[in-house]
Symmetry: C2
Subunit: 378 residues, 2 copies
């Protein structure tokens, strides 16, 4: 089975298993508490109905009004500040649901707004996250050089550790702030920040819903918005560093497979072009050009494959090219494939021909042996 | 300013502007309705308090019980089916909030569960989405060939149209089903499917919350779970096709810039290696090897840049390499850069030297002129 299909199947099985495990654990943790809580609440309801002489119908009437009044209880939700807060929860897909459009026009606009806004926001956070990672990498490299470390290169492990601690710090700062402003415990405020910045957004804890804060406390409103945006940036940077590469794995592999198929199917054209001794006629030259161009395209794709593989290998070996081109010894030891020819250049006709005139079993060609290993990060 | 920085800045400005526009429109659409609704509900509350002779304190007591009873009213939430539903909303980040962990242990486990589950799910949906896109591309290519079309290649436009209509169909099928099961209007059910499959998940409309469906209607429960997973797959496939490339733009550009910097800074090493007539001493050979390897690495990176650029250009010109290597005429016309040398190979020492010994103004080198244009899809 193709690697990509196997990988996809494995991921599906893992995810479904993960769901089943989660279901079991949540059942064990919450089911008993739910039953107990329901029993207590039903009894309280019974006492209240008895105390105020309410029938079931009466209680249902009051219940309906209470539930409809819930968002209003938290303050005005749809003035500019509240609408900005709502728009933020839409395009970031947090979606607390503390407020939701009640008009059909609002619902329709919400869908159109999300349709454009969500991809825009995804790309923005990834873009900004990548910039932040590059800057942090640059700073860390400079810091390592200043400290006179023997190997000043910035490794993936360095970046992951910094990213992780940035995320945890962001959550802690938010937890401290919101526990102060909202009167939540630190743990509950941390839980709120986590649920927000992962964009799950249950809505069980929502900031800016006490004492009409959206209208009365502009500083806290501004802090909340800035916190959410910056927090999502930090999380986005971490995702860009760690997760994004895995999201493009299948596409990379598909590209590589296509290049290999192209080389295998077009080795004959290369062979015929190589064997041709005399200058061709114009018609034949046109046909040869077409075949030659196809072969050339296949070779370019192959170089891309080879180069991509080298890039990933070099990144795994901790070479993130800084301005002054420091290399790890490991990479240099590995690069024996790239023996410069007499002109000092890696490319020469013999190597091109060797790569192009491949046999069906690619492993017999030594360059392919080097690059047919799977990238160790995948 | 660097291209990546400019792009990121533009995206930030766009997103903030988009938020402001959204805030203004939602304010205009919902603010008046909110005011009207609050007025009506306050009046109904006043009437009820008067009717049942309830003080403000009494009403607050009843209100508290009603709000706590709300999730229980929708049925048992934490048995296995309900917990599975909840786990699904966590790892997909839908996060309706119809149920949320009430115990601290549940909250803590929820965070840990999301920490691993969300990246796993992201990668799984992208992987599966890519496989689906590849399969659809294959099918469409076969269909075009069967129909005897002159140009059977599958274009990006074809894929986007198919993807878009798949998404709309998925939403319509869901809307029809949930409007039947839940008693919602088609529009409200469509809105629910949209908010679910974009993972916003307000929680204003939540399936499986009527008549204790989670316990009593296993077929509907299974349908809902399958619909959410398949719907997210279809959306994920569309995102993989359209959005994912934009999320890696900065990384691609950074790679290209690094390659160009490497070439510029190491042209001297190539020059010195080219000029060396005699076999070097072992010490000098080691130094030359190091410099030569660095130059070779820089050249490989350059080829990767060139190859990546060609790949993207070819993709824009609608060449998705099918098994039989069909090419567009446009690509072949464009590929005049790749004049095969006398051996039929694109690589020859003269071209390598020409690329390597770059002047400070890259535009004077004709290969760079071709590839310094921005990809038109970015």
């Amino acid at each position: 089975m193709k690697r990509q299909n196997l990988r996809t199947l494995a991921l599906i099985i893992c995810t479904l298993s993960y769901l089943l495990i989660g279901a079991g654990v949540f059942d064990a943790l919450e089911s008993k508490q739910e039953k107990t809580q329901k029993g207590k609440l039903d009894y309280r309801k019974f006492l209240l109905m008895h105390k105020y002489n309410l029938t079931r119908l009466d209680f249902d009437q009051i219940e309906k009004v209470v539930l409809l009044l819930k968002p209003h209880k938290a303050g005005v939700q749809w003035r500019f500040a509240g609408s900005f807060y709502f728009s933020l929860t839409v395009i970031t897909t947090i979606g607390y649901g503390h407020a939701a459009p009640s008009t059909d026009a609002g619902k329709a606009f919400c869908m159109g707004y999300a349709l454009l806004g969500i991809p825009l926001t995804l790309v923005m956070f990834q873009s900004l996250g990548e910039r932040i990672n590059t800057f942090v990498r640059f700073l860390l490299h400079k810091a390592k050089k200043c400290m006179g470390l023997r190997r000043p290169e910035v490794s993936m492990a360095n970046m992951v550790i910094i990213g992780f601690f940035s995320c945890v710090s962001t959550l802690c700062v938010g937890a401290a702030a919101f526990s102060h402003y909202e009167g939540w415990s630190f743990f509950h405020a941390f839980y709120y920040c986590f649920i927000t910045l992962t964009t799950i957004g249950f809505g069980d804890y929502v900031a800016l819903q006490k004492d009409n804060a959206l209208q009365n406390d502009p500083h806290y409103v501004a802090f909340s918005f800035v916190y959410i945006l910056m927090g999502l940036t930090v999380i986005g940077a971490f995702l860009n560093l760690v997760v994004l590469r895995f999201m493009t794995m299948n596409t990379q592999d598909e590209r590589r497979d296509a290049a290999q198929r192209a080389l295998l199917s077009k080795d004959q054209q290369i062979g015929s072009v190589l064997r041709r001794p005399d200058p061709p006629s114009p018609a034949a030259a046109g046909r040869d050009k077409r075949r030659g161009l196809k072969s050339v395209y296949a070779e370019v794709l192959h170089f891309q494959t080879v180069c991509s593989c080298l890039w990933y290998k070099s990144r795994e070996k901790m070479v993130i090219l800084p301005q002054d081109m420091s290399f790890t010894d490991a990479l240099m030891e590995q690069s024996d494939f790239f023996e410069p020819g007499p002109t000092g250049c890696v490319c020469n006709p013999q190597r091109c021909s060797a790569i192009s005139t491949v046999s069906a079993d690619l492993r017999n060609i030594s360059p392919f042996r080097l690059f047919s290993k799977r990238r160790s990060s995948v």
